[in-house]
């Protein structure tokens, strides 16, 4: 579904990504783990067209999207979530969700149904519909960010650090929901610091180290891999 073929990204003289090959198949949850500065977020940004690639190509459903601007990708079926929550703080929860469905604007019935579905997934949000998003707690903002990207009805969902700064039980909940969304047929590419949690929900994983892929395997085998355990799982 999504394929990166020897993608490199340079920030000036520094090569942030070098020759990254990565594949996400339909229906999978794939996670990208690695230490700080390994290039996880850069990979996501390269896919979204937020940073230019210096070489290599990116394909989505057989079409090349290497230089496609971010807003076009949403129309193609890729929902991105930029690093951080990036919700619209001065708008209400409902307005945030409506903006999430921007590419479907005009389809009122669909948007209404999708908002209901988001509220089903995140009941907390429904209590705060008309509250401005900036007043939500960190966990609620993360939920809103997730709900908002679902509003576009994506085929592929890119998530950058969904567990960032959340209490452990909220982290559990977020990953539970990621699994649920995936069961409904959305393919997911997940970038995570929290390698243990990420590997538990993912089917496959790539381990990034200083800009290139060190290992890739099924999540199960990586969880059991001693080197990975030592480096990323803190055991």
């Amino acid at each position: 579904m999504l394929a990166l073929r020897s993608v490199s990204v340079r920030y000036g003289a520094i090569e942030a990504l070098s020759q990254v090959d990565l594949e996400v198949n339909q229906g999978e949850i794939v996670t990208l783990i690695g230490a700080n500065g390994a290039g996880k977020s850069t990979t996501i940004r390269a896919i979204c067209g937020q940073v230019p690639t210096s070489s290599g190509s990116i394909h989505f459903e057989g079409r090349e999207i290497t230089r496609t601007p971010a807003h076009r990708l949403v129309h193609a079926g890729i929902a991105q979530s930029p690093e951080g929550r990036r919700i619209f703080a001065n708008m209400t929860v409902r307005e945030n969700l409506e903006l999430g469905a921007f590419i479907h604007h005009g389809k009122h019935e669909q948007i209404r149904q999708d908002i209901d579905r988001v509220f089903q997934l995140f009941p907390r949000l429904s209590e705060r519909v008309n509250q401005s998003a900036g007043t939500l707690s960190g966990g609620e903002q993360q939920m809103l960010a997730m709900g908002r990207s679902l509003m576009a009805r994506p085929k592929l969902l890119l998530r950058d650090e969904p567990s960032l700064g959340l209490a452990p039980f909220l982290v559990q909940q977020i990953f539970q929901i990621i699994r649920e969304i995936n069961k409904e047929g959305v393919t997911i590419l997940l970038v995570e610091q929290n390698a243990y949690q990420a590997l538990r929900v993912a089917h496959r994983a790539y381990v990034l180290g200083t800009g290139s892929i060190v290992v890739s395997d099924t999540a199960e085998r990586l969880l059991a891999n001693e080197q990975v355990q030592a480096a990323y799982l803190g055991e």
Binding site: C48, Q50, P69, A70, H71, R72, L73, V74, H75, A79, Q80, S81, P82, R86, I87, F88, A89, N90, M91, E95, E98, L99, G100, F102, I103, H105, G106, R148, S149, A152
Partner: protein
Amino acid sequence: MRWLALRTLTVLGCLAALAVVSKLLSANLDTYVFLVVIQCGVAMTLAASLNLINGITGQFSIGHAGFYAAGAYVGAAWTVLWQPIVVRHVPLLQLGAPVGDTLTLLIAIVVGAAAAAVAGVVVGLPSLRLRGDYLAIVTLGFGEVIRVVILNIDAVGGARGLTGIPTLVGSGDLAFFWVFGLVLAVVALSRNLMRTTRGLTWLAVREDEIAADAMGVDTTRVKVSAFVVGSAFAGVAGVMYAHYFTSISPDVFGMDMSIIITTMVVLGGTGSVSGSLLAAIVLTALPEFLRFMQDYRMVIFSTMLVVVMLTRPQGMFGHGEISFAKLKQLFGRRAAGGAKP
């Protein structure tokens, strides 16, 4: 269909009410006060149109006088220079006073708006790469460029200005009707925009451009549209000014005018339509009504601005709007508070 009928009725109702108000005011106000009222109307349009760019879309532009000038000069040039030629060659268009004048004014509005909109695109394009203070400098500079270009075109009078523009809007109730009709139009547009998903995208660009992009919003298009629409309205305000005051000169559209319009938007509360309207009235009328203070007038005026910004850093209304619901809430709370011993 019902929606359309309702819309048409609302618009007609507003126009009728406006006509009645214009008759009443022009009959009862003395000439000087009426003049200030018209100036307020022009300022309200300028402030509300800049609010579309600065407030709602968050592109810090401080060269609004440039668009104002482009509209005023092109509109006036049409009326003074081109319209007589067209009429001479096309006998069909020799329509006489009421119909012909209205048609001439309407065309002046269209060409003035178009000229300002083109200028808006030219300034809007750098806004795709610049933000914040950098954009502000470019817009300020561009506003000056427009003024200097006009200064050097002899056909429109250069530094002497363009005089003898026929008062197509008249000096009485008709002028009020046109000027405040324009205010209504820009307010209606802002309000309708804020209620649609498309309007939300303008706000989204202000709030967080990257996130807006990630929602599928073409941020480039939003920014350029904001510049085009905002400057087109400023252009029409210029057409009104030219056809009411019958003479224009480049120094009316200087940098200080740009700064005053920007002040209106910031003082009113960036993004608040009602705020920028109120601030436009205050900033236009106050210097006039402080005239009895003579030399201290501008000192007091400036001090008041500083005091407002110190006590309400977010502007008079912040991001909020005046609405009946809020007024009711406010007075309801006061009443409830007052009832308690």
